[in-house]
């Protein structure tokens, strides 16, 4: 029975990760069109007609999805990726060439094992915590996986066997090391504040009210840490304004220039899974997870379901926010990027850590 529960948890969380990544892909394609005053993908599937009475409702649904661009972005692009030629450049082996996209996707999905997706609930006498692995290192494990994700990009950059890819790989390695510091230090101040490394306990600590009216969400108790964490996290996902590793106007496509077909799509999947992971972390640490202020959720499966819906809505909100930022701001210059990381975010996070530690001791 324990194994079955674990299997169900793995399926739910893995599908959540995949689903969030897919929603992000669709919002990226269609939302970017809205932002740039275009129409965007709306053709594939939009002309599905049939005379068969039984199949008419199905085709109507497909037509609607086609007009919304979902068929194009989630189905046609994937099929196209599967059937494209998988080109391996001269001078590298197929094994190490495949290792790049693998290392870009695998750590991100592994990190989802530590994300609690709903409050505890009891069903049929079993007390279930909707979290795949309950390690006592908690959020540190996610941080370790984030530090492993650098290899995917560096291997990919090296495998391209050309200067543009190599430059992209080098830039991304430098960028990720630089912003990991600010990310880690702002994380430490949250750990000090909550007194735990476990993400579930962090959410529980946020469900109380300060002074009877203000929810004890991390955004209200640690606003500076939120700004640092969110900005550094966005730099870790390597998207505009931090997309120097793949800046298409100077480096063709940076580290994945030489990738095509499904391997290229895997980089995309990893990127969007990373966006959703960052959103989930922000929601769990700064926005109370599944907590609705002034409302206590029931302890059964209905409460867990409501909590899950609330959690996922918050995560989707932050995914959309990141995509809007990506299509609004221009790219940084390289020295500006390093200046922001080392001279603004890192000292600010250290100052925040000091203040948090002093206040924690004093109060």
């Amino acid at each position: 029975m324990e194994w079955i529960i674990l299997l169900i948890k793995i399926i739910v969380v893995f599908n959540l990760a995949q689903g969030l990544a897919s929603i992000c892909v669709w919002v990226e394609r269609k939302g970017s069109a809205l932002i740039q005053d275009r129409i965007g993908a709306n053709r594939a599937g939009a002309y599905f007609y049939t005379d068969n009475i039984l199949l008419k409702p199905v085709f109507a649904v497909v037509r609607l999805l086609g007009i919304l661009g979902i068929v194009n972005t989630l189905f046609c692009d994937a099929v196209k990726g599967l059937f494209k030629e998988d080109f391996v450049p001269k001078g590298t082996s197929n094994f190490i060439h495949s290792l790049g996209p693998f290392m870009a996707v695998f750590p991100v999905f592994l990190a989802y094992a530590l994300i609690p997706v709903a409050p505890d609930f009891e069903i049929g006498g079993y007390k279930i915590r909707p979290q795949v692995a309950n390690l006592d290192v908690g959020v540190l494990f996610i941080f370790a996986m984030a530090s492993i994700a650098v290899y995917g990009v560096t291997i990919a950059g090296w495998c391209g066997n050309n200067k543009f890819s190599l430059l992209g790989g080098l830039r991304s390695a430098a960028q990720m090391i630089s912003y990991e510091l600010a990310l880690g230090v702002s994380l430490v101040s949250m750990v000090i504040l909550y007194g735990t490394l476990d993400l579930y306990d962090m959410v529980v600590k946020q469900t109380v009210l300060i002074g009877g009216f203000l929810p004890a969400w991390g955004i209200f108790t640690q606003p500076l840490a939120f700004v640092i964490f969110f900005v550094a996290g966005m730099a870790e996902t390597k998207r505009a304004p931090f997309d120097l590793p793949e800046s298409e106007s100077e480096l063709v496509a940076g580290y994945f220039t030489e990738y095509s077909g499904m391997k290229f799509l895997l980089f995309w999947l990893g990127e969007f899974a990373e966006i959703a992971l960052l959103s989930a972390l922000v929601v769990l640490m700064f926005f109370g997870g599944w907590d609705i202020p002034y409302v206590t959720l029931p302890g059964d499966w209905i409460g867990a379901l409501i909590g899950h819906i609330v959690f996922v809505s918050k995560v989707v909100f932050f995914c959309i926010l990141q995509i809007v930022v990506r299509w609004t701001l221009p790219r940084f210059r390289y020295d500006q990027l390093m200046h922001l990381g080392w001279k603004i975010l890192l000292p600010a996070s250290l100052l925040n850590l000091l203040i948090t530690a002093v206040l924690k001791l004093a109060l």
């Binding site: 540190l140 530090s147 650098v150």
Partner: protein, 164 residues
């Protein structure tokens, strides 16, 4: 079940350590070392020492090895192939046997301890670090501080030489 996983991980640990030595390209050697450190973290995790495993990944696989790979890529050593040195190889073989002979009694002790009540969680390690081993902890942090100051001085000096 756990024993089978142990054998797989132990085999991969040894194979990747061997790979560091026998790979022709420096970058492949570096990636083998990454795999090796990762597998050692997996061995820690099998002993329920999750904190040690995570720290191993963050510090060695995630930070130090990234710098090594970074430097290899920056110097673009992929054209350079390692030349085998039989003298150094023989010397290190002798050294390994001597070390193994010295460490054998200690190794016997560790094998008898493994699997019982190893305290590898965050709280117990934190308590040990900040009470029993506080002096060595502080000395290590001062050592790292010295390294940082040294790096800054080196960077500043080369800059001055270039301008004058």
């Amino acid at each position: 079940m756990e024993e089978i996983i142990w054998y797989i991980i132990a085999g991969l640990t040894l194979a990747s350590a061997l790979g560091v030595l026998i790979m022709k390209k420096p970058l492949y050697s570096a990636f083998c070392l990454v795999l090796h450190l990762f597998m050692i973290a997996a061995l820690f995790a099998l002993l329920d020492a999750h904190f040690l495993a995570t720290a191993q990944i963050i510090v060695y696989a995630g930070a130090i090895m990234v710098l090594v790979v970074f430097v290899i890529m920056l110097l673009s050593l992929d054209g350079a192939e390692k030349k085998p040195s039989y003298f150094l190889g023989g010397l290190s073989l002798v050294a390994i046997f001597a070390l193994f002979k010295m460490l054998l009694p200690a190794l016997r002790d560790t094998f008898s301890v493994s699997g019982t009540n190893l305290q590898g969680d965050v709280k117990s390690i934190g308590l040990l670090l900040y009470t029993k081993y506080i002096y060595s902890f502080e000395v290590a942090s001062i050592l790292i501080m010295v390294a940082i100051v040294g790096a800054v001085i080196l960077a500043k000096r080369t800059k001055k030489n270039v301008t004058t």
